[in-house]
C-alpha cells in the first residue's frame, strides 16, 4: 500500500482491534455489532409481518408471537436505536469534529463496547433460550409474577447495556466540554455536536433510573421483594412511572442524534448555513430538558389521576414546539441554496417528511381525549415507527452514507445508494401508513389473531414490509462492495466545512497532523459555494 498509514492499516492483528482505545476502531466495532442486532431485530419484524397476513395466525402460536414482538422491541430499542448514531457515527466523528485526538476517556469507551456486547449477548441468550413474552415494556405485575419467559436474564442484559450507554454519554459530555480545539466556541460547533450533547445529558440522567427499575423487576421476580406487586401492597403504576421516566426521554435519545445528522446534511447539500443556527442548537437542549416532563402521556388510561393527565398532556404539547422549530429551520435552510441530490440528501429529505408525519401524529396522542381512543392501538405503533424508523433509521443511513468516505476512504456507488434511499422511503410508507388506519379503526396492538375486517390493511402493511426488507438489505451489499472496489475518496468529497473533512480519509490514527485551529462559524460555504456554481 502506497497510501499513507491510517487508523485501519495501522496494525491489523485481531488483538489490536479488540484492545484498541482508538475511538475510530471502537466505532467500527460498534458498526459491526449494531448491524448484527439490526438484522436480528429485523428478522423478528419480518416474521411478525408474515404472521399478521392471516387474521387467524397460522404461522406461529400465540406464545411464539408474543416472544417475537418482545425480541423485536428489546433488540431494536436497546441494541440498535439507542446506540445507533451516538456509538457509531458519534464515536467516530465527535473527536474529529472538535479537532481532538480521541475522546476524553478512550479506555472507558472500549469498556462501554464490551458492556454493550455483554448486555446484548445476555439478552440474546434469554431471547433464544426460552424467550421473553412481556413486550419491551416489561409491565408489572405481568413481568414479575405471570410471565413464563426468561425475564430476569433479559432485564439483566438491558441493565448491563444501560451502563454502556451511561459511559458513552459521560464520555461525550466531558469530551465536548473539555477537548475542543482553540477557537471552536460553542456557537461554532456543528449542530450534530449540539444534538449529541443533548443526547448525552439524557443518557446520563435517565438511564440510571431504568437501571434501578429493571433491577427492582429482577429482584421482585427472583426473590419476591414485591415493590411493584399489588398482592404485596405495591403499586404497579409506580413501575410505569419509573419506566417511562426513562423511556420517554429515551425516545429523544433515539431521535436527537438523527436531528443532528440531518442538520449537517441539509446544510452541506444546500451549501448554506443552517437557518437560525442558535434556535436549532438550543431547541436540541430544550427537547432534552422538556423531554423529562412528559412521561405520563404514556399513562393517560392507566389509572393515573386525571390531574396528572392534564399536566403531562400540556407538557407534551410544549415539547413539540422545539421539534417544530427544527423542521421549519431545515426547510428555510433550503431556501435559496444550491441543492444537490446525493444519496445522503435524499435520506435527509425523507427524514423531514417522515419525522414531520410522526411528530404531527404525536399531537393526536398528546391530545387527551383522542389518546384515550387510540392509545394501545396500531396508531401508536405507526406513530412510533414513523419517528424511530422513518426518522432515526433514515437519518442513520443518511449519516452512514455521508461519512462513509471518511470512515472507509472509499466512495459508495451513488446510483445504488439513491435507489435504496427511494426504495426505503416508499417501502416504509407502505408498511406503516396502513397502521395509522388500523389504529383509527380501533385495532389493538400486540394482537396475535385479529378480527378479519382488519385484514386488508395488514396485508398491505406486510407487502410494504417485504419491500422495506429488501431496501434495508441493499446497502449491506453495495456498501460491502465499495469497501473493496469503491473509488478512493479524497479528504473532502462533499466540499463540506467540518473539521473532520480537513484530515485524510480514512484519518490517521491520531486524527490530525498538528492541531487545527478554527476561525469561522460552521457551515461557511460562502466562498466555495459560489465557485462551484460557476463551474457548473
Amino acid at each position: 500500500m502506497s497510501a499513507p498509514r491510517n487508523y485501519l492499516t495501522e496494525d491489523n492483528r485481531l488483538r489490536s482491534w479488540f484492545f484498541t482505545t482508538d475511538h475510530k476502531r471502537v466505532a467500527v466495532l460498534y458498526f459491526a455489532s449494531i448491524t448484527l442486532f439490526f438484522f436480528i431485530g429485523g428478522a423478528a419484524a419480518t416474521l411478525i409481518r408474515l404472521e399478521l397476513i392471516n387474521p387467524q395466525g397460522h404461522l406461529v402460536t400465540s406464545d411464539v408471537y408474543n416472544r417475537l414482538f418482545t425480541l423485536h422491541g428489546v433488540i431494536m430499542v436497546w441494541f440498535f436505536l439507542i446506540p445507533s448514531i451516538p456509538n457509531t457515527i458519534g464515536n467516530f466523528i465527535v473527536p474529529l469534529m472538535i479537532g481532538a485526538r480521541d475522546l476524553a476517556f478512550p479506555r472507558l469507551n472500549l469498556a462501554s463496547w464490551y458492556l454493550f456486547m455483554a448486555g446484548g449477548l445476555t439478552t440474546l441468550y434469554a431471547m433464544f433460550a426460552g424467550g421473553v413474552d412481556t413486550g419491551w415494556t416489561f409491565y408489572t405485575p405481568f413481568s414479575t409474577m405471570y410471565s413464563n419467559g426468561y425475564v430476569v436474564l433479559a432485564v439483566t442484559g438491558v441493565f448491563i447495556a444501560g451502563f454502556s450507554s451511561i459511559l458513552t454519554g459521560l464520555n461525550f459530555i466531558v469530551t465536548i466540554h473539555r477537548l475542543r480545539v482553540p477557537g471552536l466556541t460553542w456557537y461554532r460547533l456543528p449542530l450534530f455536536l449540539w444534538s449529541l450533547y443533548a443526547t448525552s445529558v439524557i443518557l446520563v440522567l435517565a438511564t440510571p433510573v431504568l437501571a434501578m427499575t429493571l433491577l427492582l423487576v429482577a429482584l421482585d421476580r427472583a426473590f419476591g421483594i414485591g415493590i411493584f406487586d399489588p398482592a404485596r401492597g405495591g403499586d404497579p403504576l409506580l413501575f410505569q412511572h419509573l419506566f417511562w421516566f426513562y423511556s420517554h426521554p429515551a425516545v429523544y435519545i433515539m431521535i436527537l442524534p438523527g436531528m443532528g445528522v440531518v442538520s449537517e446534511l441539509i446544510a452541506v447539500y444546500s451549501r448554506k448555513e443552517v437557518f437560525g443556527y442558535k434556535f436549532v442548537a438550543w431547541s436540541a437542549i430544550a427537547i432534552a430538558g422538556v423531554g423529562f416532563f412528559v412521561w405520563g402521556h404514556h399513562m393517560f388510561v392507566s389509572g393515573q389521576s386525571p390531574f396528572a393527565g392534564l399536566v403531562f398532556s400540556f407538557m407534551s404539547f410544549i415539547v413539540a414546539v422545539p421539534s417544530a422549530i427544527k423542521v421549519f429551520n431545515w426547510t428555510a435552510t433550503m431556501h435559496k441554496g444550491w441543492i444537490r441530490y446525493d444519496a445522503p440528501m435524499l435520506y435527509a429529505l425523507g427524514f423531514i417528511g417522515l419525522f414531520t408525519m410522526g411528530g404531527l401524529t404525536g399531537l393526536f396522542l398528546a391530545c387527551l381525549a383522542y389518546d384515550v381512543y387510540v392509545t394501545d392501538t396500531y396508531f401508536v405503533v405507526a406513530h412510533f415507527h414513523y419517528i424511530m424508523v422513518g426518522g432515526m433509521v433514515t437519518a442513520y443511513f443518511g449519516g452512514l452514507h455521508y461519512w462513509w468516505p471518511k470512515i472507509t476512504g472509499r466512495l459508495y456507488p451513488e446510483y445504488w445508494a439513491r435507489a435504496a434511499a427511494i426504495l426505503i422511503f416508499f417501502g416504509f410508507n407502505m408498511t406503516f401508513f396502513p397502521q395509522f388506519i388500523l389504529g383509527i379503526e380501533g385495532m389493538p396492538r400486540r394482537y396475535h389473531v385479529y378480527p378479519p375486517e382488519f385484514q386488508v390493511w395488514h396485508v398491505l402493511s406486510s407487502a410494504g414490509a417485504s419491500i422495506l426488507a429488501v431496501a434495508y438489505a441493499l446497502p449491506l451489499f453495495y456498501l460491502g462492495w465499495s469497501l473493496f472496489f469503491g473509488a478512493r475518496a479524497g479528504a473532502n468529497p462533499w466540499q463540506a466545512t467540518g473539521l473532520e473533512w480537513q484530515t485524510t480519509s480514512p484519518p490517521p490514527k491520531h486524527n490530525f497532523e498538528g492541531t487545527p485551529i478554527v476561525k469561522r462559524k460552521p457551515y461557511d460555504f460562502t466562498v466555495k459555494g459560489k465557485a462551484r456554481a460557476q463551474n457548473a
Binding site: P236, P306, G337, I339, A369, V449
Partner: protein
C-alpha cells in the same frame, strides 16, 4: 366476529355515544390542523427542492433572509398558540370521562387472564358479554384478578386500564341498540388477542326483560347479605353485638367524620378499603378493632358485600 358495526361505511367504527361523536370531531380538528402544517411544509420543501436545485443557476439566490429571530419568534408563537388550543379541546373532553352521572346503572367487571366477567346488581352474571341499556349512563366498576388489562370499546371511543388490587371506573351512554366490540387493549399474556367480548346495547324494556330472564341466585345485594352474615360481619355491625361497631344502614353516600379529624364520603372505595384495610380510616368514636379481610375474601365477594351495603339505603341508592 360478525358484529363489527358497519365497517364499510367509514374508515373507523361508528360512534355510538355522544362522547364518541365529540371525539370524532376532535379527530377532524387535529387532522385539519396537521394537514395545514403538512401541506404548507411539503409545498415549501418541494418548491425549494426543485427551484433551488444546483442545476438551476438562474434561480435568484441574492437577498437571502438574514435576520431570523422575527421569523423564529413568529412561528414558535404560532405553533404554541395552536397547540394550546388543541390541548384545551382534548382536555375538556377527557374530563367528561372522569365524572359519571349519579343516575348511572352500575355494573361490575372483573377481568382475568383471559376473560371478562360481568356482574349486574341484580345478580345476573355474564362472561365475555355485557348487556347494557341505551340512553342511560352505564358506569362500570372494574378490577383485575391478575395482571393489567384494558377495557376498550372502539364504538364508544373509551378505554381504561383494569388494575389488580384496586378498582377503576369507566362510563358511557350508548345511543343506539347494537352489538359492539370489546377488546382487551393492554397486553396481558398468551391469549391477550383472544380476550374479546361483545357489548350488547338494548332498549330499556328489552334490557329489563333480558335481566329478568337470567338465572340468578338472588340479587348481588342478597348474595352480599348472605356473605355479610356468613363472614360474621353482622355480629358486630348488626347493632346488638357485644363489640361496638358502626351500624351501616343508610350509610352509603353520607359524609362521615374520621378519627383523625377529617371527613370522608362513604363511597364504594371507602367501603372496599374498610373491608380490606379496616384500620386505615377509622370512623370517629370507634375503636380500631375490626380484623382485615385481606386474603380471606375474593374480589367477587367484596363486590357483593359492597352492593349489599349500598342497598341498605343512603343518598345514592339504586331503585
Amino acid at each position: 366476529m360478525d358484529n363489527w358495526a358497519s365497517p364499510a361505511s367509514s374508515l373507523w367504527p361508528s360512534s355510538e355515544t355522544a362522547h364518541a361523536h365529540s371525539v370524532d370531531i376532535l379527530f377532524f380538528g387535529l387532522l385539519a390542523s396537521s394537514l395545514c402544517v403538512l401541506v404548507l411544509l411539503f409545498f415549501l420543501l418541494l418548491r425549494f427542492a426543485i427551484h433551488y436545485r444546483e442545476g438551476n443557476a438562474r434561480a435568484d439566490r441574492d437577498h437571502r433572509i438574514k435576520k431570523s429571530w422575527q421569523l423564529e419568534t413568529a412561528w414558535t408563537a404560532a405553533t404554541f398558540v395552536a397547540f394550546l388550543g388543541l390541548f384545551v379541546w382534548g382536555a375538556r373532553l377527557y374530563l367528561n370521562l372522569s365524572g359519571p352521572p349519579a343516575n348511572a346503572e352500575i355494573i361490575y367487571i372483573v377481568a382475568k387472564q383471559w376473560m371478562w366477567k360481568v356482574q349486574h346488581l341484580g345478580g345476573q352474571r355474564e362472561i365475555n358479554e355485557l348487556h347494557i341499556p341505551i340512553n342511560r349512563p352505564v358506569r362500570l366498576i372494574m378490577s383485575s384478578e391478575d395482571v393489567i388489562h384494558s377495557f376498550f370499546v372502539p364504538e364508544f371511543r373509551v378505554k381504561h386500564d383494569v388494575l389488580p388490587g384496586t378498582s377503576e371506573e369507566i362510563w358511557f351512554n350508548a345511543r343506539k341498540a347494537g352489538v359492539f366490540h370489546l377488546f382487551c387493549a393492554e397486553y396481558c399474556g398468551t391469549d391477550h388477542s383472544r380476550m374479546l367480548g361483545r357489548i350488547v346495547a338494548m332498549r330499556e324494556p328489552e334490557f329489563e326483560q333480558w335481566l329478568g330472564h337470567q338465572d340468578t341466585t338472588g340479587t348481588m345485594g342478597a348474595q352480599g347479605k348472605a356473605l355479610f352474615i356468613r363472614l360474621g360481619c353482622s355480629g358486630c355491625h348488626g347493632g346488638n353485638g357485644t363489640v361496638r361497631a358502626p351500624v351501616l344502614d343508610g350509610l352509603y353516600g353520607k359524609r362521615v367524620p374520621l378519627s383523625d379529624g377529617t371527613f370522608r364520603i362513604v363511597d364504594e372505595r371507602y367501603l372496599r378499603d374498610s373491608i380490606l384495610k379496616p384500620r386505615a380510616e377509622i370512623a370517629a368514636g370507634y375503636e380500631p378493632l375490626m380484623p382485615s379481610y385481606e386474603g380471606k375474601i375474593s374480589e367477587d365477594e367484596i363486590v357483593k358485600i359492597v352492593a349489599y351495603l349500598k342497598s341498605l339505603g343512603g343518598k345514592d341508592t339504586q331503585p
